[in-house]
Symmetry: C2
Subunit: 667 residues, 2 copies
């Protein structure tokens, strides 16, 4: 048991306990949630929000605000309490009473798309660290791009509170290693080191020296021995962290989870469950808290609400500074406003059209698209997880994004796929950037946790996924995607696009860039493809469209990507035999599903029941389009190591097989 505080209740203590009891009471009312972290981390969060964090509660989207990430998202009542107490309109006391209820702005984990003031969606552990690295990268990049001597219009910090769970996750390791490499001096993380995770003491599984590990990554590490009581030490550590400008900082804050609860403090019992009525009462007594549930003492509220004036003043000052910038640099200011508003420049999509004339692999067509977009979309930037020259993502003529050249737009993510995804999410949610990240399609598996969050958090990131079938060849089944395309199609609010040729690759980029509220997963070939007569940019943007047709078709062959060529050739052979065959290219099932019923009937008429699908991947999901009387050509086993064309043929991706299967379906 933690003894009741012996010292007098200061205003600061009152404020901190206000956070604690809003959290306790909300979890208690919901009978669900995680009170332990808010109780233990309230002091560090209070010091941060009270003395350091630059924000305007009445304008949560002010572009030069500091970004705050609660990577330990299960402790979201900490954040909701602070948003409410400091005066955000997005979290009223009624919202707090509706914690974890249907339709409330206070869901079980922080969701940027639900609650103003929440920067990123966390809960899946470690993601917030990656997001924060991305936020800090975006700040550094925009500062390098837009600031001018005497005009610091981009100048804010990224603060994080993370816990033991985040520090156990590999994604956080990846992001922290890259953050150290990039010397992101304005990234400051407070590690709520309470030695408890859900299963109990961290002694069970996590006994490493975390501070030393971050030092190895190149971080500045500060320690706060007593994060429960020593507010001065917390403030001093934050000030020290800010003073180190060429390294990100980790502040290791030793705390007690569930601080104040006589029976449960310092135990896993307070991690993820309501305290229970008796223990809530005991905690009230222990901390000398005399207020009713959800009551906030007026003194505390008034102290917190100083944030409103302070924030308004800070933003007003910034507005003045921005006005001066605008006067001195009108073009830059206009550009800055455009990208921070997430608006695309007029006619950007036309830059892609010349790419439609090229003929090569779709990964090289993708490279041509990146190069074409680069001058017209300066906010478009990214790179690869150490496969730049396989993914073809390096844009010539642009600098690398590195310490000393933060204006660079070619990113070197290292072999850190999961970190890359989370970093992209942070970059995009910062505003002012449209990020892309690349790896082999099969390694989408490594970053799926982040891809899902791109979709859930409504982030228009581009995932460039090359080597999209067994045609990659010799690297073998560990590197050959089979089920990957299908596995991505199932993610809600996302687009999976697998173009067949140059027209369709252009369409893929036009769609991906235009979709600012959902991620695009772009699958490109390693091998060369031919441009096909019937394809079109406009058709491909509908997700599925007719490429070859015949009057009153008796058979429809549906294909994607490199297999469209097989379908077209098979149709020629069948047509020569007098069969009426239609070929439908379906680069994106999702886009197709969104078309009108009339359009869909025009492409896949209900009356034409003889259908064949061809895709060099899992057949899973294709029965929706071929129906009960159709056939699916694909592979539901793993691939094999051999030259691509050999593997392709061995697994049945041949014109002959498409013809033979079609004949069988025709009966």
């Amino acid at each position: 048991m933690v003894a009741a505080p012996s010292k007098p209740q200061t205003l600061e203590t009152l404020c901190i306990n206000s956070i604690r009891f809003l959290s306790i009471d909300a979890v208690e009312k919901a009978k669900s949630g995680h009170p332990g972290l808010p109780m233990g981390a309230a002091p560090m969060a209070f010091v941060l929000f009270d003395q350091f964090l630059k924000f305007n509660p009445k304008n949560p989207k002010w572009v030069d605000r500091d970004r705050f990430v609660l990577s330990a998202g299960h402790g979201c009542m900490l954040q909701y309490s602070l948003l409410h107490l400091t005066g955000y309109d997005s979290v009223t006391i009624e919202d707090i009473k509706q914690f974890r209820q249907w339709g409330s702005s206070t869901p079980g984990h922080p969701e940027n798309f639900e609650t103003d003031g929440v920067e990123v969606t966390t809960g899946p552990l470690g993601q917030g660290v990656g997001n924060a690295v991305g936020l800090a990268i975006a700040e550094a990049h925009l500062a390098a791009r837009f600031n001018k001597p005497g005009h610091n219009i981009v100048d804010h910090y990224t603060y994080v509170i993370l816990g033991d769970g985040c520090n156990m996750e590999g994604i956080a390791s990846e992001a922290a290693s890259l953050g150290g490499h990039l010397k992101l001096g304005k990234l400051i993380m407070m590690y709520d080191s309470n030695s408890i995770s859900i299963d109990g003491s961290t002694d069970l599984a996590f006994t490493e020296d975390v501070g030393k590990r971050y030092e190895a990554y190149g971080w500045h590490v500060v320690k706060v021995a007593d994060g429960n009581e020593d507010l001065d030490a917390i403030a001093k550590a934050l000030a020290e962290a800010k003073s180190v400008t060429d390294k990100p900082s980790l502040i290791v804050v030793t705390t007690t989870i569930g601080y104040g609860s006589p029976k449960k403090a310092g135990t896993a019992g307070v991690h993820g469950a309501a305290l229970g009525g008796d223990e809530v009462a005991a905690t009230r007594a222990n901390l000398g808290w005399e207020y009713e549930p959800f009551d906030v003492p007026a003194d505390a509220l008034s102290r917190f609400r100083q944030a409103i004036d302070k924030g308004a003043k800070a933003e007003a000052e910034w507005n003045e500074r921005f006005a001066a910038y605008e006067k001195a640099y009108p073009a830059e200011a206009a550009e800055f406003k455009r990208i921070m508003a997430g608006e695309l420049p007029e006619g950007w999509e036309k830059a892609l059209e010349p790419v439609a004339q090229k003929e090569t692999s779709t990964r090289l067509l993708s490279e041509a698209c990146l190069n074409a977009l680069s001058p017209v979309l300066p906010e478009f930037l990214g790179g690869s997880a150490d496969l730049a020259h396989s993914n073809m993502t390096y844009v010539k003529g642009l600098a690398d994004f590195q310490y000393g050249s933060y204006e660079g737009r070619n990113f070197r993510f290292g072999v850190r796929e999961h970190g890359m995804g989370a970093i992209m999410n942070g970059m995009a949610l910062h505003g002012g950037t449209i990020p892309y990240g690349a790896t082999f399609l099969v390694f989408a598996d490594y970053m799926r946790g982040a891809m899902r969050l791109s979709a859930l958090a409504e982030i228009g990131a581009l995932y460039i996924l090359t080597h999209d079938s067994v045609m990659l060849g010799e690297d073998g089944p560990t590197h050959q995607p089979v089920e990957t395309i299908a596995s991505l199609r199932v993610i809600p609010n996302s687009l999976t696009i697998r173009p067949a040729d140059a027209n369709e690759t252009v369409a893929a980029y036009q769609v991906a860039i235009a979709n600012r509220k959902r991620p695009s997963f772009l699958a490109f070939t390693r091998q060369n493809v031919k441009n096909l007569a019937g394809t079109s940019i406009e058709g491909a943007k509908k997700g599925g469209y007719i490429v070859v047709d015949a009057p009153n078709p008796e058979l429809i062959i549906i294909a994607t990507g490199s297999e469209l060529a097989l379908a077209v050739k098979a149709a020629e052979i069948l047509a020569a035999e007098g069969k009426a065959v239609r070929v439908v290219s379906m680069p994106s099932q999702e886009l197709y599903n969104e078309q009108s019923d009339e359009y869909k009937e025009s492409v896949l008429p209900v009356s034409v029941k003889k259908r064949v699908s061809v895709e060099a991947g899992s057949t899973f999901g294709w029965h929706k389009y071929v129906g009960s009387e159709g056939a699916v050509i694909g592979m539901d086993t793993f691939g094999a190591s051999a030259p691509g064309p050999v593997v392709y043929e061995k697994f049945g991706f041949t014109v002959d097989n498409v013809v033979a299967t079609s004949r069988k379906v025709l009966g």
Copy 2:
């Protein structure tokens, strides 16, 4: 350029160059592969295989062999060269000439299921580190379980060669942190630190102090300054690593990638592409290599082939020791032989039957299965990624697996899902254990890279995935699986099983344990379920079966897991209206797909075209079973935070909706 070696060619150098040139020549012939690592890491690999590694080339499966893992799997020619040179039958010189060709035993990355002598399947970076931690865990566990005073029958090391790429991956961080925590003294990793990854210098993205990071994890770290030439230093480092018994060891070996190539050594150009004819010739000249492609000097071969006698002798000695053990401890010896042969004890599945009488959530039924299996399958062991008391995976009465209690069977993986998966893969491939690992279903996304390898590498690991739908409730969409089940069904050579009640949970475990060559992904509810009248263990093992029937059914409702209860109730209502309705439970599409056509026709007759599927998840993939005239009930959006029953109802998982949809389908 690296200067030609000035010192005389020793036999050791001849051996090392034999590895290098077999690798160079094989990659050159295939015009595909990664020569850089074999050329740089040949010295350390030679010292390891020559002086330290305990193995018998003529019996690659000898149970007490040391395990060798090439985590940097792209450098597989290093391993194939060693397997050939030391006399394994699995890799002949012809096989090396067939590197990366269809049907060869020398695929583009090491595959345990293709090539004897390859312990685990690597290539996807970082996995090998997790596998190695698993191999070392299995050794430690079996040693603790079986060794007796004077009888060390389990006593071998796990050696790893890994590269920069592995060390950038989060999965390796997770596994290394746990390996340090567990003080796995018999795990020794050699880090081929060549400062080059595919995109170029590690200065681009990876400038951390790796040795210091491993020290932070609790590892013993040794450095070898000149890994190109200083064989003594390598041997000394290995000896030192072996002498430290309470910590795993990392030997940081500084090398030159592509050592010996005048133009390409030390560059990314030699990482993943053939040297090219001119550079091969220049490398031959530079290293004084006078032999034709694929020729191995007789002196070198004879030195390598000493491994055959040495291995035979080592195994013979062990056989003697085992015979003595068998005499002293016949029961233990028989048990050891059984589990190392991967045989299940007679009648083990009967232990599960009493669980069929219980009625609760399927996660608690899963717990009952774990407890029931625990005494009859002593090789069955595992744990959770810090969610033991949510996943219900802690088996009472068993000790924790920790340093000092390696005989324990309750594992504490920490919040390290991806590491957990890779560790399970290593444990299983070691032999003697059947591992399980648990987390929330939605976090399968975090470990999908390892799950795919379980499937590809034919590993019968059990993934226990609880909280299997939006019914998990308040935690919200970050924690609610929607698309996860579908995303797992697409993985080849795996089983996804979502049982509806006690009978089906028993069936799920019977199937999962019996399937020793493919992983099972078991999805369990958080909430209570009712046992349903029509379910059966035998039926569920067929993947899909009739639970409610009517003569000449006009409608079939297909459901899985918790939604089977909705289907059964809907059928009752429809039957009361005079409709002939069949209900099919389909806990596993994969198992159902494997049934005979006759059986499938008996369950889902082609003639009954009116069908409805119900599953609280993505509808993706269900059209295969409901056909063109059917309807799918599911959800293709993310969930929301609220109490489970509220979310469930809001998304349409109600008897009313099933009835209404059925009526619509019936027309």
